[in-house]
């Protein structure tokens, strides 16, 4: 019987996207494989100290740790112009977020400092060498074997199940409300379209619409 693990909450998804943006802004332009390894290494560091930063779960594939949630987040960040496609550099909206929400990263230095340390250590290593290095590391879940020796598709890092509240990445409700729009391409486009259409088409009364749909 296949057991379904719980998905990420909207708050967790937003934190992950913010941390991916921070990773890319600190590391510079990185490809998909290197980004997977850097986030895995940062997430592993955070988990070792009980910090709830990244919420990705990683399985082992040919190129080592892989998270499908990270792939989806990267696609959404590209569509929202937060990062650029292919080369994964900071995009127009990404620069805006880093400028106007820098206080969030300041308040969560515990996490950003770990990302900076990992990036400094690993970002200049060529991709294949980095993959080999990660393969030689101890599997955080099956600690008696190396990541490279782990069976394909088995978990290497799972989502954090419990943590201390003071070791959690913190965002205020009002910042969360704004970022939910900027970091989600669907929300951003919907709101932009609506604002644009407000200038060209008249609005409709809610009562009229409810009368129409109930008839």
């Amino acid at each position: 019987m296949r057991v379904r693990t719980r998905g990420r909450t909207p708050e967790e998804r937003l934190v992950d996207k913010l941390l991916v943006l921070y990773t890319i802004s600190d590391a510079g332009s990185v490809g998909d494989t290197v980004l997977q390894k850097l986030t895995f290494l940062s997430a592993n560091e955070m988990r070792k100290q009980g910090d709830k930063g990244f919420n990705y779960a990683y399985i082992k594939l040919d190129y080592g740790p892989y998270s499908s949630d990270l792939v989806n987040d990267v696609k959404e960040l590209e569509r929202a112009s937060v990062i650029t496609p292919f080369s994964h550099d900071v995009g127009l909206n990404g620069k805006y977020i880093l400028d106007h929400f820098s206080h969030i990263f300041e308040e969560n230095k515990v996490f950003t400092e770990k990302i900076q340390r990992i990036n400094k250590k690993y970002v200049d290593i060529p991709r294949d060498e980095l993959v080999h290095l990660v393969h030689e590391m101890q599997n955080p879940v099956r600690t008696w074997e190396k990541i490279g020796d782990t069976r394909d598709r088995s978990y290497i890092l799972k989502r954090p199940k419990s943590w201390n509240e003071d070791k959690e990445f913190k965002i205020s409700e009002s910042d969360f409300a704004s970022l939910e729009i900027y970091l989600n391409p669907k929300n951003l486009h919907a709101l932009s379209n609506s604002i644009h259409s407000a200038r060209t088409s008249p609005s409709v009364s809610l009562c009229e619409v409810l009368k129409r749909v109930s008839s």
Partner: protein, 115 residues
């Protein structure tokens, strides 16, 4: 009660929900009722400069982004061209809804793509 008006996209969202997702339609209707009785309480004011003046209210998986006309008019940074085309028609206590986001949108699309 504050009169509520909808832009085109939220109007289409409500029509779609009323046809296909009655449960979510009920929740959105309740949330709109809440905004209509008091648009200021339980809402987050978006402080970001580009989204200045917008408010967001959420309940479970539904999120609504709106502005109160009086607040928007007090924001003296807004140039005339950025006002709604029918701005002059409504009093300050009108609530203008710009976006209704339901998480179900994604699940609805996924569900129908699988078939």
């Amino acid at each position: 009660m504050f009169p509520v008006r909808l832009q085109r996209d939220p109007e289409k969202t409500i029509e779609r929900l009323a046809k296909k997702e009655k449960a979510r339609f009920g929740r959105v209707e309740r949330l709109l009722g809440k905004i209509s009785s008091d648009p200021y309480s339980d809402s987050e004011v978006l402080k970001d400069p580009k989204l200045k003046g917008f408010r967001r209210v959420k309940e479970d998986k539904e999120r609504i982004v709106y502005q109160v006309c009086g607040e928007c008019r007090k924001n003296t940074n807004i140039m005339k061209s950025k006002q709604c085309i029918d701005c002059a028609t409504f009093p300050d206590d009108t609530v203008m809804v710009f976006d209704i986001d339901t998480r179900s949108k994604i699940m609805y699309e996924k569900k129908h793509k699988r078939r």
